[in-house]
Amino acid sequence: MIRFLAYRLLSAIPVLFVVSLVTFLIMWLVPGDISAEIGGIDATPADLAAIRERLGLDRPLWERALNWYGALFQGDLGQSYTLNRSVLGAVMERLPVTLSLAAIALMLATLMGMLLGILASVRHNTWLDQGAMVTALIGLSIPDFWFGIVMIILFGVWLGWLPTGGFVPLSEDPVGWARSMVLPSLTLAITQMGVIARMTRSAMLDVLGQDYIRTARAKGMRARTVIFRHGLRNAMIPIITVVGVLSGVLLSGAVVIETVFSLPGVGRLIIGAIQRRDFPIIQGGLLITACVFVFVNILVDMAYAWFDPRGRDDS
């Protein structure tokens, strides 16, 4: 397992290098830079040139890239042009918001999706099956920004049960934190659970048709045991694969949800930086997000091994 982990970590390095390089190239191709934001609408060309020179934006791409990678090897992601703080500081102070949102949404989506999928497979070709799959499809089809606003109006304005937006740090007020996370994570989970529900249903239908399930049933084993111990456990591999992919989708989906619910997360940080052309934040923020994504994928690969002992031998 340690060899496997070391191999995966080492293979992540070229991935992260390509991510950072592609980001560099894309931002180089995008027209406009921070000088217009700093200089204002009536800045003269000379004013803008002075700002570019001060920030090193007048240097050739290769020189800027070399400087950035040079600093990165010393653990320095640079300074934001606008936030008056280091890139690492800016990203790290927002990472808990995005990670907690994505993690809670992932748990909810997995739980709700698997329940729907199991229900649909066990009651195959009944109205329950149809109902579960229609629910999953609706969740998949509705745009998350629209659904978020509907949730805000319903639970925040009409019923007044939950805050309409904003974030309360866990360290300040755990109850306030939980209340501030309910609507965003539920919105994100409902719009993503459909994939898990459909995959669970399909995998379970495969497994439930196997001989060993028939044998278990013939032995008189309780239905719950057959479904969860023998059925679900053997259907988990494709479900885990989907959950792994979904973790990335949830991280990117968090961008929209953070905007709708006014959460100060990494997604909003990067979107704001793109709009202002705050290159160090874009570069550093995407690199750290890519690191999280790679890490989650390693966890998923480790989960395969846990659910499928054959995987341990392969590693």
Partner: protein, 524 residues
């Protein structure tokens, strides 16, 4: 056409609400007891780019900064320079010396008393990092001539200097001497205002709290524009950053926030009769404009530009782009203000005259060349007006194409001499500043918005800033208005408003260029 009538009718009813709200705000207060304490939450859509008041001209920053910092001079409610931190100014006969005496006993948020050294250090810093540092260009040097006195020695007489110096665009705020050497955005956010800075969490909130040792200006009875006697009733004010307009309105309806800097007009109409919500109309918020690139064909041809001018139906553009909150106005000043040029140019405005436009296009020798309209997606009014303008131009045979990009890209493209023909722009603070601030953006030495300078307009701008009396400057401005309707390099589409909204529990709120969180209080 029906939809426009409906929008216009909606506007009229909302205007009535706004006028009533405004009248109620300005009328002698019927003995409302102000309540000290409480926490007010104000919502705006974007982060302040900086809380260093002098280094940014952004509205999102001004909203907060003008409650923290103050200037020597600022504009009154009727846009005239009034002393704020200054006791007054003596201007020499030849206009070459300005002696500012300072108010005594004014404390910074760090407890130190403001004196002439702080003023000199602040203004020297402004010369380096001020976002509109050119306003100090007429000042040769600043001399400390007393503990509470500074003297400006001018390069040449500039009769409009005090107006420019009072500008809130990127205000010449006074900060402690210790911050004088700091880079832009790196000061300690210490000012002399009624509220002091507490914390800024980007994308979430800025918190300010009452400065208990605030030195009120007792020369007036109440607030007056950016100055006057300010009273901080609230313990704390939180500026929450909520980018999504729907979420802003939901938070207001739920009672989680108290004031929206801007409420979308459809939501304003829906909440018009809600007893918990009060709408505040700020009718004179911005000029909607359409700017030509006079450097490239077909927009380099004055006859072509005139054709566009007479083809446009301003009512249609304004009704759709402003969602119904607008005033038709051909003037390059607000109607009834000091420099109102009257009816000059009215014969070209809101004509929607397709026949005349087609004749002018023929005269211009237009051959169906592409006419690229540059606009952006960040400021919704820009995109909406571009769409309506493009459709109207297509109707007279112009091959109009929209290039919609994001704001930084639009700013980048419009700085290029080629690659665009028309550009939609909301001018917010410039018209408020009066003729000098507005015309400066259209003339040398700056790069005119329409790219190629017009020597006659440049000369008129110089005449304007050197005009010794208001009457002389009024006459010059009439010539400028005439010239603008001769060269058609920029089209005035109309005046657009801004609708604020507050909870009914917020008292004393008067719409202005920024949300003044002093002299307002909360009632249960």
């Amino acid at each position: 056409m029906n939809i426009h009538r409906k929008l216009a009718s909606g506007l009229r009813s909302l205007s009535a609400v706004g006028v009533i709200a405004l009248a109620a705000a300005f009328s002698p207060a019927p003995a409302q007891a102000q309540v000290k304490g409480g926490e007010l939450v104000v919502v705006q859509g974007s982060n302040p780019p900086s809380l260093d008041g002098m280094s940014t001209s952004s509205q999102a920053s001004r909203n907060i900064n003008m409650n923290i910092y103050e200037t020597l001079y600022g504009f009154s409610e009727d846009i005239k320079p009034i002393p704020i931190l200054a006791e007054g100014v003596d201007i020499s006969e030849d206009g070459l010396t300005y002696v500012f005496t300072l108010r005594k006993g004014v404390l910074f948020h760090n407890g130190d008393e403001m004196n002439a050294r702080d003023v000199k250090a602040s203004l020297e810093r402004y010369r380096r990092v001020g976002a509109t540092k050119n306003l100090l260009a007429p000042v040769k040097d600043i001399e400390i001539t007393g503990e509470y006195e500074v003297t400006f020695h001018m390069v040449e007489p500039t009769p409009t200097f005090l107006e420019a110096f009072s500008s809130p665009r990127a205000p010449a705020i006074i900060i402690p001497e210790e911050d004088g050497d700091t880079e832009a955005g790196k000061n300690s956010f210490i000012g002399t205002g009624p509220y002091k800075f507490v914390e800024y969490v980007p994308d979430d909130h800025v918190t300010i709290e009452r400065f208990d040792d605030y030195s009120q200006d007792l020369r007036s009875d109440g607030i007056d524009g950016f100055g006057g006697k300010k009273t901080a009733w609230l313990d704390r004010v939180i500026f929450r950053i909520i980018p999504e307009p729907g979420a802003q309105v939901a938070a207001l309806e739920a009672g989680e926030v108290d004031i929206l800097e801007q409420i979308p007009m459809p939501a304003a109409r829906r909440l018009e009769s809600d007893p918990d919500i009060v709408l505040h109309e700020n009718a004179r918020w911005a000029f909607t404009t359409f700017i030509f690139n006079t450097n490239v064909p077909p927009s380099d041809n004055v006859k072509f530009r005139e054709a566009v001018q007479v083809a446009l139906n301003m009512e249609e553009i304004m009704a759709i782009s402003s969602e119904g909150l607008y005033t038709l106005n051909h003037r390059w000043q607000y109607e009834g203000t000091t420099y109102d040029p009257g009816q000059i140019g009215a014969e070209y405005y809101n004509q929607a005259d397709t026949e005349r436009a087609k004749a002018l296009l023929e005269e211009a020798g237009y051959n169906g060349e592409e006419f690229v309209i540059l606009t952006d997606s960040n400021i919704p009014q820009h995109g909406r007006s571009a769409v309506v303008i493009a459709e109207q131009l297509k109707a007279i045979g112009i091959n109009a194409v929209i290039n919609q990009v994001d704001w930084p890209t639009a700013l980048n493209i419009r700085m290029q001499d080629e690659g665009w023909n028309g550009w939609t722009l909301q001018m917010g603070i410039e018209p408020y500043l009066g003729p000098v601030g507005l015309i400066a953006t259209l003339t040398s030495p700056a790069r005119p918005h329409f790219v190629k300078p017009d020597p006659e307009l440049d000369a008129l701008y110089q005449e304007l800033i050197k005009g010794e009396t208001v009457e002389a400057r009024q006459e010059t401005f009439k010539k400028i208005q005439t010239r603008l309707y001769e060269i058609f390099a920029i089209i005035k589409v109309g005046d657009s408003g801004l609708m604020h909204a507050s909870r009914a529990s917020v008292k004393g709120f008067i719409p202005f260029r920024f949300p003044r969180v002093y002299d307002i209080w909360l009632e249960d």
